[in-house]
């Protein structure tokens, strides 16, 4: 009984602290009279006015479309490439210094390059998102493919599993948890690059809206955009975790039973 009561108390605590922070922000900002930190009530009102659903078509949809396209390209390019590099020691050795160097460049530094080559349109933004999102997936795919259990590979060979069958049934399933870890990192990077590319050169998008609001001193609008980006980051992360748990259900199950 006491153990259950303790659990209930911990859950209540877990909910109470964030609630308390929101209340504190509400009360403080209502009385602060600070130009840069408008009352939370006003931010929420502006949020409802701006984002439900007035600017969804003009800003949110273009932003998410760029994000989705860039991320999809990154996945589509890096998984086959990573698999090839993971399987071939020679190819890996040749490309490794290049991969290591390009990966070390802080992603925003590539933005001027993309603007120069592709201009300021959607192609540039999708390109930047894809280019930056590529590396975490690529490196994790290489590591995942290299790390496949040798017993498993040899068993597959003994049973005559080869070619695409070997990829689909042995190598990819074994590498999948690590590929997913890379995709998760890549997704949050993609969101960051989406915002930056819209701030540097754009006429639409959430990043553009926030910077524009700040420049015209529409402070509640700016805050509403920040809140929206926070929500988007949280929701994308949660959605990805959900997909990951579904796809890797077998993996977690296998792990748990092995531990018992």
């Amino acid at each position: 009984m006491t153990a259950m009561w303790r659990r209930v108390r911990l859950i209540l605590l877990e909910l109470a602290v964030p609630a308390a922070v929101v209340v504190a922000w509400w009360v403080w900002s209502a009385n602060a009279d600070n130009f840069y930190f408008p009352p939370l009530a006003e931010i929420l009102r502006t949020f409802a006015d701006t984002w439900v659903f007035e600017r969804v078509g003009t800003d949110v949809v273009p932003s998410l479309a760029r994000l989705g396209a860039g991320f999809a390209i990154a996945v589509a390019v890096s998984i086959p490439l990573g698999t090839a590099l993971g399987l071939s020691t020679g190819a890996r050795r040749v490309t490794e210094p290049i991969v290591e160097f390009v990966r070390a460049i802080p992603p925003p530094a590539l933005l001027p390059f993309a603007i120069l080559v592709l201009g300021v349109g959607d192609a540039m933004k999708v390109f930047v998102i894809a280019l930056v999102g590529l590396w975490p997936i690529l490196l994790n795919t290489i590591d995942g493919v290299r790390g496949v259990d040798h017993t498993m590979l040899e068993t597959a060979r003994v049973y005559g599993v080869r070619g695409p069958e070997r990829l689909r049934r042995v190598i990819w399933p074994a590498a999948l948890p690590q590929i997913f870890a890379g995709m998760r990192t890549s997704l949050s990077l993609a969101l960051i690059l989406m915002v930056i590319s819209e701030m540097v050169a754009s006429t639409s998008g959430i990043g553009y809206f926030i910077l524009q609001s700040e420049r015209s001193f529409d402070i509640p609008e700016m805050w509403s955009g920040i809140v929206l980006l926070g929500l988007l980051g949280y929701l994308l992360n949660a959605a990805f975790a959900l997909v990951e748990r579904r796809v890797l259900r077998w993996h977690r199950g296998a792990r748990a039973s092995a531990l018992q």
Binding site: E96, A109, L111, P112, V117, M199
Partner: protein, 250 residues
């Protein structure tokens, strides 16, 4: 090494033969010459210095906040549960969303850069520290208890040392993140540093200079990562116990 040489030669040939338009992709040799010229100039080193300054202050501030907070949160189940949801909610917020706020509150100078770098670098380090505090070998902890070590002694002699590898990894991740945000701030806000110089070179049509500066930025990132990896390996060598624990768990 041969891979790099082949890639560079291909790029040079493609640019010379105008397969890649040379206005956008100048020959590698020209970029290298520009880079060599820049290395003798004070302006390049000043830009590198500004970027590193923003990186160091941001990472330092993040470490000063995140490591003590992580220790406090990670050592108590109640504190951990109290903060978990808040952290999980704040962490995925893309720190670049705060750029306009940083401009308003801190202006377009160093403070904005440090604020953004610190905010972004805080989360990986905090999470790593919390995990490190929670992943202590229970046998070691029980042994310390049996030997009559007090709570504070257990913290400094058992829990903290075994969390060091986690903190080291967190520092390496945060270092990368802090550098990204420093360059972003220079690019978007226009604080002094490599990001601003790259953008200026692009706007001024000096493509070979732009590539040279991108290469320098890459070298800075690569160098910092190398330093942190080396330090991390050192830290892990100081903790052979941790390595065996990790090995036996896998």
């Amino acid at each position: 090494m041969a891979g790099i040489a082949v890639a560079l030669l291909l790029a040079e040939a493609a640019s010379r033969a105008e397969v890649l338009p040379s206005t956008y992709f100048p020959p590698v040799s020209r970029t290298v010459v520009t880079l060599a010229g820049e290395l003798g100039q004070g302006a390049l080193w000043a830009a590198v210095g500004h970027t590193l300054q923003g990186w160091a202050l941001g990472l330092g501030l993040a470490a000063a906040l995140a490591i003590p907070a992580g220790v406090a949160i990670g050592t108590s189940a109640v504190r951990y549960r109290a903060c978990r949801m808040l952290i999980e909610f704040l962490r995925p917020i893309p720190s670049v969303a705060l750029i306009p706020l940083a401009i308003l509150v801190y202006g377009i100078g160093l403070e904005s850069k440090v604020f953004l770098a610190a905010f972004a670098a805080l989360w990986p380090l905090l999470i790593q520290t919390v995990y490190g505090m929670q992943d202590v070998d229970p046998v070691a902890l029980d042994t310390a208890r049996v030997f009559g070590l007090r709570r504070s002694e257990r913290l400094t002699r058992v829990v903290l040392p075994s969390a060091v590898p986690y903190v080291a990894t967190g520092l390496r991740i945060s270092s990368t993140v802090a550098l990204i945000l420093a360059v972003t701030a220079e690019l978007v806000i226009g604080s002094a540093g490599l990001g601003r110089e790259i953008n200026a070179a692009r706007a001024g049509g000096a493509t070979d200079l732009m590539y040279a500066l991108i290469i320098v930025t890459g070298l800075v990132g690569w160098g910092l990562n190398g330093i942190f990896s080396r330090v991390e390996r050192r830290v892990l060598r100081w903790h052979p116990a941790h390595r065996t624990v990790e090995g036996s768990a896998a």
